[in-house]
């Protein structure tokens, strides 16, 4: 892959998320350094093997390293594509953009968790996220319904209608959960 700014090979892949919008940067070492994304090449003196074996000391979790691997477990997107499994929990923030798209495909378009949360994570998620998720879901369902009706798939249409009705009349999830 080429660097976004010059003709060099891109070795730094960074994903930043601002207000829920993910942007991906692919830069060569030089451009990345001048951008302040990575400290000027200090040589990755770390033996990757040693890092895997040692206890996990996250460098900067959530930011891919220069070589595009997870800073915590050193897995790359390629590793993931090969075995279908991620390396560690921090891989989710490292490869968020990619995984958000993948999740949407695998989970009927959904890309945000609703439901139970660990008490440590502060209990229920905020209402706004929940409402947003539901609105998006309804939109998708309506589109699927139109499609089903157009294709004369009546059984599917009936099921979609049921689901839309249920979703629109559902009391707030978080209100239900608080107890």
């Amino acid at each position: 892959m080429k660097c976004d700014r010059c003709e060099n090979e891109a070795t730094v892949h960074e994903v930043t998320i601002v207000n829920g919008v993910a942007t991906e940067k692919n830069l060569c070492e030089h451009c990345a350094a001048s951008d302040g994304i990575v400290p000027a090449p200090v040589s990755e003196a770390l033996d990757p093997g040693a890092v895997i074996a040692g206890p996990l000391a996250p460098a900067t979790p959530g930011r891919a390293t220069r070589s595009g691997s997870c800073p915590t477990c050193r897995s790359t997107l390629n590793d993931f594509k090969q075995c279908g499994l991620l390396g560690c929990p921090d891989c989710y923030s490292t490869f968020r953009t990619h995984l958000t798209q993948l999740a949407a495909r695998a989970h009927e378009g959904a890309s945000r968790h609703i439901g139970r949360t660990p008490k440590r994570a502060g209990g229920t998620l905020d209402q706004a996220a929940l409402i947003q998720e539901r609105t998006e879901r309804l939109k998708r369902l309506h589109a699927q319904l139109d499609e089903a009706v157009a294709g004369e798939q009546y059984e599917r249409a009936a099921r979609l209608r049921d689901e839309i009705r249920r979703l629109s009349t559902q009391p707030s999830e978080s209100a239900e959960r608080e107890s």
């Binding site: 074996a53 989970h107 439901g115 049921d162």
Partner: protein, 373 residues
């Protein structure tokens, strides 16, 4: 039943009927069992597949230590699978207490040269609630923790409640990996979100006979459900037993998933199967009766019996008993036999290991004895 037969070093009474095979509960004529599974991982530790032996030992110890005092069940036993005999692991798989991959173990990236098969020394365990085996927590499977609650009949609300209760107790002492967007973080992104998989094992012999099974499977796929065989992923549906479960768990609350399966999908499948049974009884009664009794006759007379054939015949007998055609045995006995004809359990009952030919003979004898042939 058999409590106190032979000393049980693992704590599990392998000759007893596990609760989930008792054959009672709601809609037990069609729904064999209900199960809830939660996938959980420890924050700050690589997932098992990406861990070294030392790291797996660490997560195993963390989980084991806490689970033993978390109050999960009145009594629990923790079975270290890297120390258990292969035959014991087979028994646990057959009882649905552990998955096949966990039984096998995962090759270690840093395994020392060893004569043993790869994965054998993989540090892993299962914690089982006793004596009913209604709760099992696998440690170091694909995720650090897989919490499973299981019950006989259609009882999804209850198994979900029990799984969540166990989850709360476990969370009180372990730090879960969680993300606002993705929910509970899992090694495979298809499990993120609530990490919940709700499933029912359903017995659908009539739909198979009327040729409508494919229709049900297609409808299930359309509803984004997974349909698997008796022993999970990739296994054939032996004995007309199928596991129906949700595929996705992101963007849906636990209650939504419960409602979809418990309130709609499973009851509909039950209705379909019952309708097919009624139809068969009114239109092809002689054929059905003949099939069920032939199966019963073979089971009570045969001298050699393969495992798959036994499952198929037991399925027919189960149908006959459920429809009131056969009164010589019960659903519970048939369910139990479906477990006992499996190689691990068969050898356990007989008391020694056997090759396939001897197993066939022992299986036939066991079936004749238990069915009063």
């Amino acid at each position: 039943m058999s409590a106190g037969h032979t000393p049980e070093p693992l704590g599990v009474h392998f000759e007893s009927v596990p609760e989930w095979l008792r054959g009672d509960g709601e809609s037990a004529d069609v729904v064999v069992s209900s199960r809830a599974r939660l996938a959980r991982n420890l924050a700050g530790h690589p997932f098992p597949a990406r861990s070294t032996q030392a790291q797996r030992k660490t997560t195993l110890k963390l989980c084991k230590d806490w689970l033993s005092k978390a109050g999960l069940s009145a009594q629990t036993t923790c079975i270290s699978l890297h120390q258990a005999a292969p035959s014991e692991r087979t028994l646990l798989v057959e009882r649905h207490l552990i998955s096949k991959p966990l039984a096998k173990g995962r090759p270690l990236p840093d395994a020392q040269d060893d004569d043993r098969p790869p994965g054998e020394t993989d540090p892993r365990a299962v914690v089982v609630g006793l004596p009913d085996e209604k709760l099992a927590v696998m440690i170091n499977e694909e995720d650090h923790l897989r919490i499973q609650a299981i019950s006989s009949g259609l009882d999804l609300r209850e198994v979900l409640r029990r799984a969540i209760d166990a989850d709360d107790r476990i969370e009180a002492g372990l730090d879960y990996a969680f993300d606002e967007q993705f929910g509970y973080l899992t090694a495979c992104p298809t499990n993120v979100g609530s990490g919940l998989r709700l499933s029912c094992m359903v017995h659908l012999p009539a739909l198979k006979m009327t040729g409508e099974l494919e229709k049900v499977k297609r409808a299930a796929a359309d509803m984004n459900l997974a349909v698997r065989g008796f022993y999970g992923e990739g296994s054939d549906a032996i004995g007309d037993l199928f596991q129906v479960s949700n595929q996705t768990a992101l963007g849906k609350s636990e209650d939504q998933i419960l409602h979809e399966l418990d309130g709609e999908i499973i009851p509909r499948i039950v209705e379909y199967e019952r309708f097919a049974r009624k139809t068969l009884m009114s239109k092809r009664r002689a054929v059905v009766e003949d099939q069920c009794w032939r199966a019963f006759g073979t089971l009570t007379r045969a001298r050699l019996m393969g495992a798959e054939e036994a499952m198929q015949l037991l399925s027919q007998v189960r149908l006959g008993v459920s429809m009131g055609l056969i009164r010589d045995t019960t659903v519970r006995i048939v369910n139990h036999l479906m477990l006992l004809v499996q190689p691990g359990h068969l050898q356990r009952v007989v008391g020694h290991e056997m090759d396939q030919e001897h197993r066939k003979e022992a299986r036939a004898t066991l079936l004749r004895t238990r069915l009063g042939g």
